[in-house]
C-alpha cells in the first residue's frame, strides 16, 4: 500500500489483481456533481470500476405525470441545468408534434438562436472545467467570463440567467427585446475571440495533449452499441447529429458543418466541442439574417391538451441526443413522459473506458464525457 492521502481499504473482492479500493465522490470536485465511483486498483492501474448514481434523483418522471404541460417546462429546465433552453425545446416539440401544431417562423428562429447560444455556453463550461480537471485554472476563468455574457443576454431576454421557463407550447413566452439582434451580433464577436483564445491556450499545449491523446479510446461500433451520442459518439468517427439526421425546428434552413473525429480519445472529444461552438456561431448568424418580424406564439389554449397518442421527439443537446417519449391519454397531464438523457447513456460506457488506465486519467476520462448529474439522475 502506498501513502496516497486518500482513505483506502485493502480488499479482496475476487477482482483479479485488485489490491486496493478507492472511493471517489460523491463529494469530489472532479466528478462534476454528485457522482460516486469505486475504483479497484492494482497499484495505480484501474482494474474495475463500479459507478454509483442516483444522489440527485428527484423522481422527475413521476412528477411530470402529475403536472400540466406548462408546469413541466419548469421541471425540464432542471434536468440538464447547463443547457436549459435545449431541454425546453425537446418538451415543447413533443407536445407540438402530438397536437400537430404549426409554430410561427419567428418563434422557431428565436428558439434556434437561444439554443445555439446555450450550446456555446455549455461548451465553454466544458472546456473550462475539462482544463480544470487537469490542473489548468486559467481557461476556466476566461470561459466563465464569456459564458456570463451569454447568460446576461438570456437574462435580458427571458428574465432568468439559467432557469428560463421561456419556451411555450406553440411558440415562446414573449418576443425578444428590441436590440436583441444587435446584442447577439456583438456577443458573437466576443465569443469568437473567446473561443479562439481558449483554443490557442489549450488545444495544442504539450502537457494537455500528452494527458488526453490516446486516453479513453472507444471504437465507433462499440460507442454506438453503448448508445453514446453527441460529441462523445462523433469523436469515434460516427457522423450522427440529430440536427442533420432528422432535422427539427428550422435546422434544415442553415448551412453548417458537423465536425467528426477519428481517434475516439479524450482529445478528440474535447476538440470537437471547440469546433462545434464555432459552427453554432455560424448558425446563429444565418438565423439572425433569415429572421423576420411576426407573431411568436401560435393560437393554442392556455392549458395544452394534446390528443391521445404517443410520440418520440429528439433534439441535439450540447451533450448529445436528448429524447422525449410522450404518451398522452388526451388529458392535461402526460400519461407517461420519459426522457432520454444523453449524459446517462454516455456515463454508461465509463467502466469500459476506465479499465486499464491509471487513476490520474480517471478524472480526465470522466471529464471528457461532459456529464450533468441533474440529467443522469432526473
Amino acid at each position: 500500500m502506498t501513502e496516497s492521502g486518500i482513505t483506502t481499504n485493502v480488499i479482496d473482492k475476487g477482482r483479479g489483481m485488485a489490491d486496493m479500493l478507492i472511493n471517489m465522490g460523491p463529494q469530489h470536485p472532479a466528478t462534476h456533481g454528485v457522482f460516486r465511483m469505486e475504483l479497484a486498483l492494482d497499484s495505480e492501474m484501474i482494474v474495475d470500476v463500479t459507478p454509483h448514481i442516483g444522489y440527485l434523483h428527484r423522481g422527475s418522471e413521476k412528477l411530470f405525470e402529475n403536472e400540466i404541460y406548462s408546469q413541466i417546462i419548469t421541471l425540464f429546465d432542471r434536468l440538464d441545468y447547463i443547457s436549459n433552453f435545449n431541454n425546453e425545446l425537446g418538451l415543447v416539440m413533443a407536445v407540438e408534434k402530438l397536437m400537430d401544431l404549426e409554430v410561427p417562423d419567428r418563434a422557431e428562429y428565436i428558439r434556434v438562436i437561444l439554443c445555439e447560444l446555450n450550446r456555446i455556453a455549455s461548451h465553454l463550461v466544458f472546456i473550462g472545467t475539462f482544463a480544470l480537471d487537469m490542473g489548468a485554472l486559467t481557461p476556466s476563468l476566461y470561459n466563465f467570463r464569456d459564458r456570463e455574457k451569454i447568460l446576461a443576454l438570456f437574462e435580458a431576454t427571458s428574465g432568468a440567467r439559467m432557469m428560463h421557463n421561456f419556451f411555450r407550447v406553440g411558440g415562446i413566452k414573449q418576443d425578444v427585446i428590441a436590440d436583441f439582434p444587435a446584442r447577439v451580433t456583438t456577443l458573437l464577436g466576443e465569443l469568437e475571440a473567446g473561443i479562439d483564445e481558449a483554443d490557442k491556450m489549450l488545444s495544442l499545449g504539450e502537457v494537455f495533449v500528452e494527458r488526453t491523446r490516446g486516453i479513453g479510446v472507444i471504437d465507433g461500433d462499440v460507442a454506438l452499441d453503448w448508445g453514446l451520442s453527441g460529441a462523445t459518439l462523433r469523436a469515434s468517427g460516427v457522423p450522427y447529429d440529430v440536427r442533420i439526421e432528422e432535422p427539427y425546428s428550422v435546422y434544415d434552413r442553415f448551412d453548417f458543418g458537423v465536425p467528426v473525429g477519428s481517434a475516439g480519445d479524450c482529445w478528440d472529444r474535447y476538440y470537437l466541442r471547440v469546433l462545434e461552438a464555432r459552427e453554432s456561431i455560424k448558425i446563429i448568424r444565418q438565423a439572425l439574417q433569415q429572421m423576420e418580424p411576426g407573431p411568436v406564439q401560435a393560437k393554442v389554449r392556455a392549458i395544452a391538451r394534446p390528443p391521445k397518442g404517443e410520440v418520440y421527439v429528439h433534439a441535439e443537446n450540447p451533450r448529445g441526443d436528448f429524447g422525449v417519449y410522450l404518451v398522452s391519454e388526451g388529458a392535461e397531464s402526460p400519461y407517461r413522459l420519459k426522457v432520454r438523457p444523453p449524459s446517462f447513456c454516455n456515463l454508461m460506457a465509463l467502466r469500459d473506458l476506465l479499465i486499464g488506465h491509471y487513476i490520474a486519467d480517471s478524472v480526465v476520462i470522466l471529464g471528457s464525457l461532459d456529464i450533468v448529474l441533474g440529467e443522469v439522475d432526473r
Binding site: 448514481i53 442516483g54 434523483h57 423522481g59 418522471e61 413521476k62 412528477l63 405525470e65 402529475n66 400540466i68 408534434k97 402530438l98 397536437m99 400537430d100 461500433d221 462499440v222 454506438l224 452499441d225 453503448w226 448508445g227 453514446l228 460516427v238 450522427y240 439526421e245 391538451r305 394534446p306 390528443p307 391521445k308 397518442g309 404517443e310 410520440v311 418520440y312 429528439h314 441526443d321 429524447g323 417519449y325 404518451v327 398522452s328 391519454e329 388526451g330 388529458a331 392535461e332 397531464s333 400519461y335 407517461r336 420519459k338 432520454r340 446517462f344 447513456c345 456515463l347 454508461m348 439522475d377
Partner: protein, 190 residues
C-alpha cells in the same frame, strides 16, 4: 392523495387523469402520418420476423411492433443483425404502466438505424402480477442501465441481466415509485 373539487376554482388543479378532464381534447386520436421510410419498414418487418407472431401498427410517425415479451431478446437480436433492418442504436428503453386499465406493463424499445435512417418502436407486454422478460443487454450493451433503472422504479425483472442491483434508488428502498399505484404525496420519514 386528495381529490378536491376544482369547479370554478382558479387555484392549481389537482392531479389530472384522463377520466377527470374538464374539456375534451381538440382531437380524440392523433392521426397517423408515416413517412415513406416508415411505410416501407412496416411492409418489411413481417418478412424479417417471420418466426414470431408480431403485430405491426403505426402511431403518428412511428412504426410500432407489438411482440411477445418472452421472445423479446431473440426478436431484438434479429432486428439488429438483419441487414435489411440493422437497428444498431437503442435510443430509449422504458416501461409504461397500464396496471389499472389492463393489469400489464409495456416495455418499450425505441430503435434507430444509422445505415437505413429508419426508426421503429418495439413493444413487449408483461403481466403486472409477474413482470418478467428476457434482457436485451446481450443485444445492445446500452440497455444495461436502462434496465436497472426500470427494475428500480417499476419492479420489472429482466431475466439474464448481468447485474440487476439498485441504480438510482437508495439501497434497501421498498416499493416501486415509478408505478401509478405508488402515491405521490405520501411521505415516509427516512
Amino acid at each position: 392523495m386528495t381529490t378536491g373539487s376544482d369547479e370554478g376554482s382558479t387555484k392549481r388543479p389537482p392531479p389530472i387523469t384522463a377520466s377527470r378532464g374538464r374539456h375534451a381534447p381538440d382531437a380524440d386520436q392523433a392521426p397517423s402520418r408515416l413517412t415513406p421510410k416508415g411505410e416501407a419498414l412496416s411492409v418489411l418487418l413481417p418478412d424479417v420476423l417471420t418466426k414470431y407472431e408480431v403485430e405491426i401498427g403505426a402511431d403518428i410517425d412511428e412504426v410500432v411492433c407489438h411482440a411477445p415479451a418472452s421472445h423479446i431478446d431473440a426478436i431484438a437480436g434479429i432486428l439488429k443483425s438483419d441487414e435489411r433492418t440493422s437497428f444498431k442504436y437503442l435510443r430509449l428503453l422504458c416501461v409504461v404502466d397500464y396496471e389499472e386499465q389492463e393489469a400489464a406493463f409495456d416495455v418499450v424499445y425505441h430503435l434507430y438505424s444509422l445505415e437505413h435512417q429508419h426508426k421503429m418502436v418495439l413493444k413487449g407486454r408483461v403481466p403486472a402480477s409477474d413482470p418478467k422478460l428476457p434482457t436485451v443487454t446481450t443485444v445492445w450493451r446500452g440497455a444495461d442501465w436502462y434496465e436497472r433503472e426500470m427494475h428500480d422504479l417499476f419492479g420489472v425483472e429482466f431475466l439474464g441481466h448481468p447485474d440487476l442491483r439498485t441504480l438510482i434508488l437508495p439501497d434497501g428502498f421498498e416499493g416501486y415509485p415509478g408505478r401509478k399505484s405508488y402515491p405521490l404525496h405520501d411521505y415516509d420519514e427516512f
